[in-house]
């Protein structure tokens, strides 16, 4: 248990001294994850809305696949993205491997199905509510999507935050495609793995506490900004 308390105290000292390396990797963690989640939401939410208001032959299959992709093993995603971005792979010429961009690409692949799936569940419930009214009002498909997305915006925010939660704690994919290069692609999770492998459990745990604290702080901040707390309805 002593490591636990050392972890807390090392987290404390890293924060109050604003340790330069800590600030560096924390900002990079946020850059990569926030970018990936914004892109993931920009892809996943319209996809969810489109699946909600359209009836087509393989819709059920598509939704089932989407739900299954939620559980994509990050390591597999990492390996596939590595093979695609490798100099010997199809997109090698862009030289994206071992850059933050490569990490963002991998995380977009990981979070988009999750955001789309959670968003689809929320939109589908709302659509069941609104269906008759929106048909009666002769809404166009686009008007239906806009209405559902706006009225379900809090659920969509929750879906996006679920994506953030998955991405910020993810390591399998970004370790492979980012390479954990100091000051270039090192983020909180890869730094934690590195310190653990060196047997520096206290420092690793300290970084872990900072990661958890940051995730909680961002969730609270976003709910606060969007006013969901005051409305008392999540």
């Amino acid at each position: 248990m002593s490591e636990f308390w050392e972890g807390i105290s090392s987290a404390f000292w890293l924060i109050i001294t604003l340790d330069a390396d800590l600030v560096d990797i924390t900002i990079r963690s946020l850059q990569v994850t926030v970018t990936a989640v914004v892109i993931g939401a920009a892809l996943g939410i319209p996809l969810a809305a489109w699946l909600t208001v359209n009836r087509f032959r393989y819709r059920r299959t598509t939704v089932a696949i989407l739900n299954a992709l939620m559980g994509l093993p990050p390591v597999v995603v990492g390996l596939i993205v590595y093979l695609l971005l490798s100099r010997s792979g199809p997109f090698g010429v862009f030289g994206l491997l071992f850059t933050p961009t490569a990490m963002i690409i991998a995380q977009v692949i990981i979070v988009t199905p999750l955001i789309a799936s959670v968003a689809h569940q929320a939109l589908r419930d709302l659509w069941a509510d609104y269906h008759d009214l929106l048909i009666s009002l002769n809404t166009t498909r686009w008007q239906r999507i806009k209405t559902l997305a706006w009225d379900a915006r809090r659920s969509l925010l929750t879906a996006t935050l679920a994506g953030f939660g998955r991405a910020i704690g993810e390591i399998g994919a970004i370790m492979i495609v980012g390479g954990n290069i100091d000051h270039v692609t090192r983020v909180l999770t890869t730094a934690i793995a590195l310190e653990t492998s060196k047997g520096n459990f206290a420092l690793a745990l300290g970084l872990g506490f900072i990661l958890i604290g940051m995730a909680i702080a961002i969730n609270i901040a976003i709910h606060w900004v969007s006013g969901t707390e005051r409305r008392g309805r999540w």
Partner: protein, 273 residues
């Protein structure tokens, strides 16, 4: 509320603002054991000061390091597994092997030493002590340089490594040491990883010093004929720095807990390989 587009623009600005120009960057795949020694933290900044080159380290096992070199995803590799290196260069993935330095492997195990390894004079006695007493031995099992060396030592003394006393992990050096420490088991590790390891508990060095355990580190530039995008000029500068008097002295004087870890042994180009 902040618009998503604003966040997106901001994120990309920040990311690309921190990217450095590729001209001065040399990406080098290095083994976990080298990185864990802490020597890279000394060498990388010095290389930067003297040559203006930013060395970016990708820390992986020997197997993956050589794969990255084959694919052209790094500019050079620094590894320690002779057979694999020879194959790599012979296949034309690397231009040549350049010996830089060596360190050594040690056997660590429980202080109580149930296998009586402490009394052993040579590596053969040490290992057969472990296998005959069926004391728990954890192996990296990850096809790394360390793992390959360990297997070649067992096969040299004719021990068939199977049975419940032999645990193959498939993990890096750090994870393997953590496991050995938790199980109070024997394992083979490079000295550098051991000295820098922070979770020793009951473990100590029980065997060291046999020449069989020496571990040669080699620098191999990735072949620009295969991968024209590699930063050959940068790689040459890094190689020259590593074999220079200053580079070799820095390596030789690096110490942890008052112990030197690496013996510099660079000579002229070993281009006969």
């Amino acid at each position: 509320m902040i618009r998503p587009s604003t966040i997106l623009a901001l994120a990309f600005t920040l990311i690309y603002a921190t990217a450095v120009s590729a001209e001065s960057v040399v990406r080098m795949a290095v083994t976990t054991s080298f990185h864990n020694s802490g020597l890279s933290d000394v060498l990388v900044p010095l290389i930067g000061e003297d040559t203006g080159i930013e060395v970016q380290l990708i820390v992986v096992g020997t197997g993956q390091a050589l794969r990255l070199g084959e694919a052209g995803d790094v500019d050079a590799v620094l590894v320690h597994s002779r057979a694999a290196e020879d194959k790599f260069v012979a296949a034309g993935f690397g231009t040549h092997r350049r010996e830089i330095m060596y360190n050594d492997f040690v056997i660590v195990g429980p202080s109580t030493d149930p296998a009586g390894v402490l009394a052993a004079e040579v590596i053969e006695t040490a290992l057969s002590g472990i296998s005959t007493s069926k004391s728990v031995f954890v192996s990296r099992g990850d096809d790394s340089g360390t793992h390959k060396r360990e297997l070649s030592l067992w096969s040299k003394i004719g021990v068939d490594v199977s049975g419940s006393w032999y645990r193959e992990l498939g993990s890096g050096m750090g994870a393997t040491l953590n496991t050995a420490s938790a199980m109070n088991a024997y394992t083979l590790t490079d000295r550098a990883s051991w000295l820098n390891f922070g979770n020793k508990r009951e473990l100590r060095i029980v065997f060291e010093g046999d020449p069989e355990l020496f571990n040669q580190y080699v620098f191999i530039p990735v072949n620009p004929d295969r991968h024209p995008h590699v930063n050959s000029d940068g790689v040459r500068l890094v190689e020259e720095w590593l074999v220079s008097a200053k580079g070799q002295t820095t390596i030789g004087s690096y110490m942890i807990d008052g112990q030197t870890l690496f013996v510099p042994n660079a000579q002229g180009n070993d281009s006969s390989d």
